[in-house]
Symmetry: C2
């Protein structure tokens, strides 16, 4: 992996860049939708690529469970398995241990947890996570981290952060695929000194890229930004920075201003399946009866399959039916909006208009289209 | 509507034809997938069109319930509402009264039944069904019929058939849209004399097309074919004949040999959602563990999006996840197979090879691909 900074924002720490991987380039700042189980829910990979998405985020834990990393390795890796023409990243499973499973034990060695599929015992360690990610063959992979819950006492946050550092070292030692870039993960909860220490020590271990984890877990926006402000200055300018699990448009712009390059989140596709659509004119809740006879497209400014071929009345009808065709069309729409949003962000960085864009995006994500 | 017979099979009553409607032509014999609620489940209309489907079958009862026929009328009719580029037919709701709802009363006047949506009382009469279908604006619409259950005593079948005749007359009188072709429906259960009488009396009323209903409701294949053999000779050669609710490939070929031109059925898409795929090499049950690492496409002979872009291992993975993206891809595959099957049937009629094709199709729908 190679990372080139292309332009710098005159009034913030934002930058545009080009991430070069064995499977093509990603223009940054970039948003990577979640294909946790090897698929963006309700959509086929070819359609996702056509919305302008350049990279997706899969998940080592989910894919270990099903279909098994050996099946994907056998198929030639995730790109081949999914027939995905772009870049792939995988998350290590650390966050899933924290958010999904109820671990039987968490020790310095690793985590023992029941398989969500059949209850059988899974032992996840840095070594296992990295081996799985090596087999999956993504372009960017993540160190196995101990994701700190929120709220969290200082002492506990410090312990968790230190464990993440030990696991980062073991992740790095276990990593055995030079075609993949291993990202170190910064933890430290909402404590500025812990975030800074985590960043410094992770940089000392040395990784080609850095991720900031343990955010968007219940803390306030101010706490999240403070954590970013403590960590980001400690990271090397030249390496890409990934903010894990953040996809709220205004939060992404705020993070970009602080120097973040990469994002991943289920938000646009989950919201779409719940009928919440983003447009440059405002928010649409397609279940609302006001759209029952509305013959306009979701947005006049969108060129996605939903907007170019179907109108609000038909999408409202499909959504009310619980039709999965609606989930697909609405997901593709939100993915297209996010791709357009990232284009706008990159353009605003080059022209110094990031704050104008933030204000515009704040307005359109707060008002409903009528 | 206009119907031209193009070729006749030398060794059976089969014929190929061209059905000309205000929304384009349909080559017959044709299969119309069911878009009962204004959508082919899991698929968007534009994708269905690209599989070679020329006409779809919607349902007056389902669309009356949701979104309401006035909404679709307001939108400019079903073609506009769905943005469907081809031909549309609607079924009258007679079969849904029989199969879905538990009517509160069935009298000569009509049927009173609870709405599946909110339990409110719906009164369905020939006049209501035709008014709804006039509003929906399909190219071909169906008379409101009394669908006879199976098994059924002779006397009951005779009464039901006679009621269908009275309703056919009222349907014809109520029909008020000259752009739509109203089909009369033949009933009579498994009784040859009733089927023949129903056909003769329906023809006497005079319709531009005829449908055969009350089949595929539990009777044997032999009983279904006998009913067809009793009814079809009584129908005018020059009018199109639609066999309602039949989609089993070998049964369609057997019906074509007896002179049927049109079919509709949920079979290909329902089977797809249950993981049963048709290919020219045999049947695939994609849930089967044998496909877990199978890097071949579903079929080498298919040009659908599932076959050209994804392999069995990936589709197996998506299907096991319960991913709706799988339902879509597999539905498009089966629709493409059915479009190819109807092409093969039309070609076999022209070249006198219908029996060879029937034998081939019987073989491939009985064996599993390994």
């Amino acid at each position: 992996m190679d990372f080139e900074i292309v332009t710098r924002d005159p009034s913030s720490s934002a930058r545009t860049g080009l991430l070069l991987t064995p499977h093509g380039a990603v223009e940054t700042p970039a948003f990577m939708p979640c294909a946790s189980r090897g698929v963006i829910k309700a959509c086929a990979p070819d359609e996702v690529a056509s919305t302008g998405v350049q990279a997706v985020m899969c998940n080592a834990f989910h894919l270990l469970i099903r279909p098994g990393s050996e099946v994907i390795h056998q198929a030639g890796g995730l790109h081949e398995f999914m027939n995905w023409p772009g870049v792939v990243a995988t998350d290590s499973g650390g966050f899933q241990v924290f958010s999904l499973a109820q671990p039987k034990s968490v020790t310095d060695e690793g985590v023992v947890l029941p398989s969500p599929l059949d209850g059988s015992e899974i032992c996840l360690t840095p070594e296992v996570s990295i081996q799985v990610q090596n087999e999956l063959g993504a372009d960017m992979i993540m160190a196995f981290d101990d994701c700190t819950p929120y709220p969290c006492e200082y002492a506990e946050a410090a312990q968790s952060m230190e464990r993440t550092l030990r696991w980062a070292q073991r992740s790095k030692a276990a990593h055995d695929n030079s075609a993949q870039a291993l990202f170190g993960i910064v933890q430290g909860s909402v404590y500025a000194d812990l975030r800074a220490e985590s960043a410094r020590a992770t940089v000392e271990l040395g990784f080609p890229g850095y991720a900031i984890g343990g955010v968007s877990v219940g803390e306030t926006e101010a706490e999240m930004f403070a954590a970013l402000e403590a960590a980001l200055p400690e990271l090397p300018e030249a390496a890409p920075r990934h903010l894990l699990g953040v996809g709220v448009p205004t939060q992404m712009i705020a993070a970009v201003k602080r120097g973040v390059d990469l994002f991943d989140c289920v938000l646009p596709t989950r919201n779409a399946r719940h009928g919440l659509l983003y447009t440059w004119e405002g928010i649409i809740r397609i279940n609302n009866a006001r759209y029952r006879e509305d013959s306009r497209p979701l947005s006049e400014l969108c060129d996605c399959p939903a907007c170019t071929q179907y109108n609000r009345a038909y999408l409202h009808h499909l959504f009310r039916l619980g039709e999965t065709a609606a989930w697909r069309l609405l997901s593709l729409h939100n993915l297209r909006f996010f791709a357009q949003l990232m284009e706008q962000i990159r353009e605003a960085i080059g022209t110094g208009k990031l704050e104008d864009l933030r204000a515009q995006v704040a307005a359109i994500t707060e008002r409903e289209v009528v």
